[in-house]
Symmetry: C2
Subunit: 450 residues, 2 copies
């Protein structure tokens, strides 16, 4: 039995380790185009910020760790072609056969069309080297531009602000963290500006068309004619799945653009699996194909792919796009569909947004949090939640995560027996408050569930 794993960041190492544990006799081989494996790319903004200074801390396991377990690891070994019929991949020009193949080749930064994008001082953030390079440049810089106000953009913003860098964030949408609903994004933007106005400014509804500079970037030029002097620029413009070699091999690509898999993480070729950022996922809410690039999902999918590649039977049921980030003490978290996304998908929704204390009001450290719940008005099931604020937000969203996975109605959610004590919450949690409002609205509509 020979199991070949392509990719060495998150899903690859997880799949390889699990496969070797399941069949200790199997030949397990892991190939990566990078010169390092098993690292936490999600931790890069915190390395840049200075939470820690040793980039090595982001490396979870070394090639030696894997070799010790009997797993062959090859660095700088990008896969050039997959031949499903011959059960062979080509790596560094050499054909390598497999019994089972697990594709975990991840995603890459979605680079925008910007003139002179290759100037020095222009970065993306994906690899460990990117992180080291940005941190070095930051130490010599006074001003920076971030292109893209998504999760990574906000995390880099915190890192730069913490280091005293005057930063301009440019996003093509009118919003900061545009994945949230508009009014929530507006609150996020206001919070950041109120707390960092001396260092941060946002440019929205505009795109970068051109960089200027000889060797090193000096200016960012936008479509609307803005010219921004800068010492560096970070492109946090989202990622896209690496699917080219899969597509060329006849492996089916899903409607989201990622590799199509069933819930066993199997591609259209039964002996070829895909997992992690390169693979498509199913929505827990309506079983439609969705795609997110998240380390937490990658790990779980890799486990399922490995179990099945080894002859077991496991399914990975779905995702909700649960995510969290922070701007210093301010947390932004979501799961499921936003109101906007739900409406685009044709749902009739009822929503409620509440701003309440995160704990008993008499506790001196009580802070306001804002919670938005999104409910499918037709069957009264909760389909989304967003939470922001300086209080305890993300773990509250996790109470909704389980509820959504189990198709809980907002009516049942009113009974949810959340933990309560004055230093932790209010007798009626803000989540349940939002639920009460939605139930009231739905009952007014007259479509009370019987």
């Amino acid at each position: 039995m020979k199991i070949v794993v392509l990719g060495g960041c998150a899903a690859g190492p997880k799949a390889a380790a699990k496969a070797k544990r399941m069949i200790p006799d199997a030949d397990v081989e892991m190939y990566t185009r990078e010169d390092v494996i098993s690292y936490s790319a999600c931790g890069l903004p915190y390395f840049i910020e200075g939470y820690f200074d040793e980039i090595e801390k982001l490396i979870i396991r070394t090639p030696e760790d894997f070799e010790e377990k009997g797993i062959k690891v090859r660095l700088n070994s990008a896969c050039e072609a997959i031949m499903p019929a011959g059960k062979t991949v080509v790596i560094n020009g050499e054909p390598i056969t497999f019994d089972k193949l697990i594709i975990a080749i991840g995603a890459r930064v979605n680079l925008p069309h910007i003139e002179k994008i290759n100037l020095d001082g222009v970065f993306k953030l994906r690899s460990l080297k990117d992180g080291v390079d940005i941190k070095e440049q930051m130490k010599k810089s006074k001003r920076a531009v971030i292109v893209g106000a998504g999760y990574i953009g906000i995390e880099i913003l915190e890192a730069l602000v913490k280091n005293g860098i005057e930063t301009v964030v440019i996003d093509e949408t009118p919003y900061v963290l545009p994945i949230f609903d508009d009014e929530i994004s507006e609150l996020i933007k206001n919070h950041i500006l109120e707390n960092s106005s001396e260092l941060v400014s946002f440019i929205n509804s505009d795109i970068v068309t051109k960089f200027e500079g000889d060797k090193h970037i000096k200016k960012v030029i936008t479509r609307e004619g803005l010219e921004i002097d800068t010492d560096m620029c970070i492109l946090s413009t989202g990622v896209k799945p690496n699917v080219e070699i899969a597509r060329a091999a006849g492996i089916a690509i899903g409607e989201t653009g990622a590799i199509k898999v069933n819930k066993r993480m199997q591609t259209n070729f039964p002996d070829i699996y895909a997992c992690g950022d390169c693979a498509e996922k199913y929505s827990f809410i309506d079983q439609t194909p969705v795609w997110f690039a998240l380390g937490s999902i990658a790990n779980k999918e890799a486990r399922t792919a490995a179990i099945n590649a080894c002859g077991g039977d496991d399914t990975f049921e779905g995702v909700q796009g649960s995510a969290v980030t922070k701007y210093f003490g301010f947390t932004m978290s979501m799961t499921g569909y936003t109101e906007r996304e739900a409406r685009i998908r044709g749902y009739d929704v009822e929503c409620a947004t509440v701003t309440k204390y995160d704990k008993a009001g008499y506790m001196p450290d009580a802070k306001n949090i804002t919670i938005k719940l999104v409910v499918n008005a037709k069957n009264r099931e909760i389909i989304g939640a967003q939470g922001i604020g300086c209080g305890d937000v993300d773990k509250r969203i996790n109470a909704v995560v389980s509820a959504i996975q189990e198709s809980m109605t907002v009516d049942d959610f009113l009974s949810v027996d959340l933990t309560y004590a004055p230093p932790f919450s209010t007798p009626i949690d803000p989540l349940v408050n939002a639920g009460y409002i939605i139930v009231g609205k739905l009952n007014k509509r007259g479509n009370h569930l019987n």
Copy 2:
């Protein structure tokens, strides 16, 4: 329409306010034996500790607030008798008729049999006055004894330690917070001793039989012959529901000793409802009668009772005994059945306890948390969770709360799409880690769910 509410702490005011909102024309009258209404008894330990110094902060609404809404409030007005047939209650010797009655008369401290229990310096903690008295006595004291190491006992312990009081905690069980499983209680005890050994000592498996002193307490004597000098003693020996007037009226009492209600919070007399600490509840796990005295439950039950008393139709589905408390930065939280409780109830269970970082290990403030999951081995449903540690614990337990309410299997829980970012969690949350271990154990047993 005349709605009479008995009780003025948590459930009573909530029920009265909701009833008046539902039927603005109704006569709503609230009677309480106390001289204050609508206060947060749960906040008393934090008042004593010094989080705030104004006891009034614990008062949520005053009688005037209610009178303004058109709700009649009578203080110092204990109900002496209920006559269901005549739809009348007797209060201060006066008969008062009702169309609908909502009983929300709470619980009281379960006083142990201790000689000279009425000495000065011996306290229970239930009313605002108790809180003020304890705080005053604490300021004059150097040593204290707490009888009972439950939630309230631990909260008072924090308050006393924060104020430099040398404190002995005595519990009849071998454990601290004995409601948790033994090994978790052991970890809690160790944590408290490691962090406060100069001020705290525990005496377990012993009970207090006698107090000594002339007017004021001077000594606590235990069954095992220990004599402890002290300046004060707090009895945190649990509570029991106030049911005497209900029982005398022929209102059915459930097997837990609390007033029996259906899910509409209705007693055996259709026009008489009960809610809050005096009422029995149903377990979400197996629909058996259970009883907990918790403000979060009281509020939700009161809402349901009021809706139904006003002719609406609402049910309160159940509880899980979810709870949380803290000892300074150390959080202790649980929901559902412990392993011990589950085994007593006849469940075949499989459990896993994991100790893991609460966030990415490279974040400098990562801290260990310990999570225990309890699963019904027969149908693989999660039936309990406990979490302790200095990290973010209670809101993690809340992700399990929703799962238990929806009878989620541990297999499905492995897919749960919890939020992830390095400052908040690990790619595979400790909760899911515990789930993996249990699934492994169950599969080894061979009762894999098909």
